[in-house]
Symmetry: C2
Amino acid sequence: MYKLLKKDGNARRGELTTVHGTVQTPVFMNVGTVGAIKGAVSTEDLESIGTQIELSNTYHLHVRPGDEVIKKMGGLHKFMSWNKPILTDSGGFQVFSLAGLRKIKEEGVYFNSHIDGRKIFMGPEQSMQIQSNIASTIAMAFDECPSSVAERSYIEASVARTTRWLKRCKDEMARLNALPDTINKHQMLFGINQGGVYSDIRIEHAKVIREMDLDGYAVGGLAVGESHEEMYRVLDDVVPYLPEDKPIYLMGVGTPENILEGVDRGVDFFDCVYPARNGRHGNAYTNHGKMNLLNAKYELDDRPIEEGCQCPACRRYSRAYIRHLLKAKEMLALRLMVTHNLYFYNTMMSEIRDAIDADRFKEYKKAKIEGMRAGEE
Amino acid sequence: MYKLLKKDGNARRGELTTVHGTVQTPVFMNVGTVGAIKGAVSTEDLESIGTQIELSNTYHLHVRPGDEVIKKMGGLHKFMSWNKPILTDSGGFQVFSLAGLRKIKEEGVYFNSHIDGRKIFMGPEQSMQIQSNIASTIAMAFDECPSSVAERSYIEASVARTTRWLKRCKDEMARLNALPDTINKHQMLFGINQGGVYSDIRIEHAKVIREMDLDGYAVGGLAVGESHEEMYRVLDDVVPYLPEDKPIYLMGVGTPENILEGVDRGVDFFDCVYPARNGRHGNAYTNHGKMNLLNAKYELDDRPIEEGCQCPACRRYSRAYIRHLLKAKEMLALRLMVTHNLYFYNTMMSEIRDAIDADRFKEYKKAKIEGMRAGEE
């Protein structure tokens, strides 16, 4: 149940109440692909850095350990020891990007597991069943995610099929939530708006899916090839056609600046692998832009990554030490980097919420972006 | 300053007071080779699992980040954020086992760095200088560590040189501790007894080095090729010739059973990479023997690694979850495994100390070994 608390321009301050607790929005979801955050970050760590909601990947969990295993273990919350909300994607994106895709048909998608090559079929019903077994708080609809810059004719046909699939997802989720042995009988379903960079297709699609009265709406298929400016234009065009009383989720986005621009256009939920991936490559996010700890100038630098930062890495360890660990390929380096970066993202979202509450989001956004751009290495 | 508190048979209960705090013995040192524990275990974690003293490797720190860097950063304690005692080895063992050894001469050892191949010379003076820069609590003497089963004639010549090197170490350490810019002016020096499996050589060597009145004495060159029974025999033979008022350290040992046997023969300090290395391979230490979490029978096992264990892994995560993370090669698996194993070792040492205090070490040892043997997978 989403409640819009207030608006500041198009930026929205809200809260989503779920069976696993309430999420204050806008929010950044921390990505734990296989039911664990990359970089040896534990769920205890997540609690200590202000994580409100975790995202796991349905495809990965389906192939290993298997969603049936997770169901037998009482669902993903119990399995990974995390009692706050979890969102699962539909599995579709990974099938298209990671697995050996064989064929898209009306009934669903045929592909090969990236683990053992075994043939798998996944359609809307299968995706819902898997997510129901995982028992996430929020399930995502099964859609096709074509390249955002694909041909118009391809996108049109794909979006029409995604709409047909969405109806099947909704029906299947209703059926599953009513079954006696379903773990989370209040599992939410978010629909996904598609249409590439073609705003008219996106708007038509938004009009159709908003009528389906889903628990939330995502804008999918962006940040996969088009420019940032095109992504912002699509958001400008399509978000007004999504229902104001439902949460809006911009999938797979992005940099801190992308998120600020998304919030400015009415987006509530974000997720991205950047904090973890950049951390693993020695890149730390700060209010003065990204810095690369592998840089020789940090060899004798006894300051924390960011002065004043209250994350577990900055409270205790120096740039020089983390740089040494990165160069020695010591795992603790990755844990400290990822922890810092997730803390940076989570803290920025908290600042964003405070700024909207205080009707000063535009000033906050401008100052934050200028600060980050000024110091970018 | 070592204080022998009481004996129970040959098992010794003592404490070593240092400038970085007091260590209750017998103790197991947790190994943090490059200034960090393998498996992304942080110094905060070490504090939470009862670690009293950490061991780092001089050779590794000398080649990266460089002991001069560590000195500029205020010493290893400050660099890695650990304020309890640290023991550094001499660098000799790694030179002989890991680096590209070129030549052993009277003045020291010529070798190539395993990082960049650069030629390095290390003799007793260099080892002391490096360890003084690192500013560990306890420095180890620079010795040769030949195979324990090498020819008698080789061992004899090697031990004689190790004795000459030990005198140079002691002189150099005294000089360094008196320098105005030395970080730890109370750095302790432990000598190392060598002699392979030849007890008469070991005893003669022990008689010589005990006269040098060092801060502690190690038995080195064991657990590198000989059987466990030979190792125990050597300890039976040589420990009585080491001074009772100094701590005794059995280097690089070993399994829980090895440690119990070592304590039973008067040893106070131990170190070993097994808890970390076994953890990385899915092997967990328990009171019922080692278990391998990769075993299929743990797929749906919702119990902790060891029921009743109070380590951060067992308090929160199941065998099934850790097994999944191990199979997915997720870094968190290694952190949880290593944390559990170090906690097991640290807890066993605490139990050993309690047993000696209560004059029931023999019973404790017997029950512990029987329990571990009974359940070993």
